[in-house]
Symmetry: D2
Subunit: 249 residues, 4 copies
């Protein structure tokens, strides 16, 4: 049994074939959650925007087939109901951390919310964003550190692992870490995943793709299936203090 | 006649009395646009959230009485139609610069959109956000620099005036500057407003409040009515290359 | 007569011919100070490091010929005496803003010191650095804003003009602005120089090179002689509140 | 036997009694290096500046008594010889990372140099600073990540652990981590020290003080002796890939 809370999958749901390959690997390796974007918030309107509802259906099929739970992002208040029909955890991405209408809308749902830290958010602002979700009666919130924007140019963002012990002291919310978006570089993901576990996080979110070089989105930061499986074996005996009760989600 | 494009008003619409006082001053001083938030995106859900539709009505009455046009923020896709009924310019705040659903929704309206730069947005990301508005057929976009997040602690944000000449070269969109949010400090607003005009911006957005010390939101950065009027007199003879045709809005 | 305090010249002294060309232009255009690096602090040890003492001699000859004063950087405590023999103003570059030994050494000289802001220095740290110079008895200090390091990638650094009015309130030291290093882009230098004057700075430091494309250092940000002269004509009637008494230096 | 390379000690050498207490603890816990500042680069000239040569002598006595090696900072080219007489490793602090005269001077010594990353330094600039040391013939360099300056306000700096795996790929130099300066908060030091080991660093630098509340410098980030000993026990069985051969220093 793998103790930490592991969410893995591709950046975007691209096809049934792609997602089933990953889902099978997540299951075999002992992960509990399958991630994959159906609605993608992309910097440019000309980039691939996700498969939408069709993507949600593929996620649902894969999750059912491999007995996994689903984490997927919602980017529009009007889609919350639809996404919540399929997902076990609703993800709020970093660009929407202060989209207060969306926070309130997911606060009205009864689903667990994964709240990513904004690129330029202080810890105080992040916790205040969580208050918006709570203000609607939903206390099922998981925070996710995914890197902040700094002057550094050797990684896509700067992973701020200090928030993990800081939040253990100053908040009751569970905190997981996404080293894939933080670094943007596959070669750095596993070392930083190890660091995230060592610093005391409650779980990890990892991007995994069967053929990263052909990914429609964020290929350079995706682990291969082999890399992912090997890492999962490595952490089998990790005894972290996971706060999240997976079976309750 | 004041040449640059001047938007002024309180951070939030608080009451009819407050807004009429400011609107009168804006009119008398030669400003063309009245700003005021009816829907306020506040860091904490316990802060004042704005008067909502009642705020829009107060704005509409004040603007009609003093022959001004209205700039106000929209923060929810479901409010775009309502806000567009009253406003001449729809403002997208910095927290929503990459709220792509909202960008597309204001793109579907025929109103001019004021797109504030995100706190941690590169110029490329900002122009890509404008592309989302254009992608729905709306090319009436005004960019607004309002400060970026840096390590500095002597101001609320760091006003990046380099974007003005940069955008004059690399974009066709008009660009205005908001020195109030950038500095968070009344004493710095007028000097930076002068700098913004000197660097070539097409207009200014200024916070003005009849009693800044009693403001429900952002008092420390609001000019008094006297300061605003005095600044407007000072710039009467300014001949900037304003790109925005006010009468066409 | 040009009222603001104008320092102009190439990034590095490259040859007598180059410097005399620039010095002549600075004189003709009404500038008071010739700048040029003899000791260059370069990121890589393989980049051009300056002509050293030979560079100082060329500076001295050019300044004498054209009746200008000299501003040049000192980067080593052991060179302070040598540099002070030739220079009227000793420049401390941004990399050395917290080189406290060097600050104390220039504090022991009786020369005016131009203290550039560090890339990541708060205003408080900058003023504390000035205290090191004062602690040795030298109060002749001019501060110089030259851009801070942020996430922005459309300019080399981010020019923080808010420090000018902030320092007018919180310090007695004169403050000048260097838009050349701040932007790293010739096309943005003159607009930001205008902004710097409008915001109330006491002077400007501008890079000028007879053939920027062949400069050994920082060519892309250097104005041509024609651009510089044209800007100087433009500002002839500027009436800023310059605090620096040039004749006392 | 402790495998990773452990440097521990107070921020500043304050007295013989203080340093001997710490040195005893470092020895007993299995650390190899005693740190302590004799020349302190402080933001303000009115802060405690260190005991100077007397501090070096105390360090030497303590190191000899407890069979430890010494790491101490040098901040002035003219002190390199003196500091090198006592120290086994010469530390270049973050404020001096681009003090090229100092880099060249320690490059001329035959001592190992600990080169801390500058507050706003990219990895490329950091490695270029190391080139200055190498350019004088000294290849004995250890890099030290100690946090960068960002907008975050919950820690003093932001520890960028991504540099550890990045440098393992792109450089041959050993890399250690200083979680004390990075966080400025004792409660976060040990979790981040664990993360630093997990991410693959070659060693740690930790601040330890017998009575942190009475420290003359950086008390809030200093571990107590008990905390330090307990952490050292915890990592006894850690098997990191340390690159540094301690006995060769």
């Amino acid at each position: 049994m793998i103790d930490p809370f592991i969410i893995a999958g591709p950046c975007a749901v691209e096809s049934e074939e792609q997602l089933f390959q990953v889902a099978k690997a997540v299951r075999e390796a002992g992960g509990q959650f399958l991630r994959g974007g159906a609605f993608k918030p992309r910097t440019s309107p000309r980039s691939f925007q996700g498969l939408g509802e069709r993507g949600l259906e593929i996620l649902a099929n894969a999750a059912k087939t491999f007995n996994l739970k689903i984490v997927t992002e919602v980017i529009d208040t009007r889609d919350v109901e639809l996404v919540a029909k399929h997902a076990d955890i609703l993800q709020i991405g970093s660009r929407n951390m202060q989209n207060f209408s969306l926070l309130k809308e997911v606060g009205k749902s009864r689903k667990t919310v994964l709240l990513k830290r904004g690129l330029a958010a202080t810890v105080k602002e992040w916790l205040s964003a969580a208050e918006y979700i709570k203000s609607e009666g939903n206390n099922r919130i998981i925070l996710c550190e995914r890197g902040i924007r700094t002057f550094c140019d050797h990684t896509r963002n700067t992973l701020d692992l200090s928030v993990v012990p800081y939040l253990k002291i100053h908040s009751d919310l569970p905190i997981i870490v996404d080293p894939s978006h933080a670094t943007g570089d596959r070669a750095l993901v596993i070392p930083l995943a190890r660091a995230a576990l060592a610093v005391g996080c409650d779980g990890l979110m990892l991007e995994v793709h069967p053929q990263p070089d052909q990914a429609l989105c964020d290929g350079p930061q995706s682990l291969t299936i082999e890399q992912f499986k090997s890492f999962m074996l490595e952490i089998t005996n990790y005894k972290g203090g996971r706060k999240v009760n997976v079976s309750s989600i």
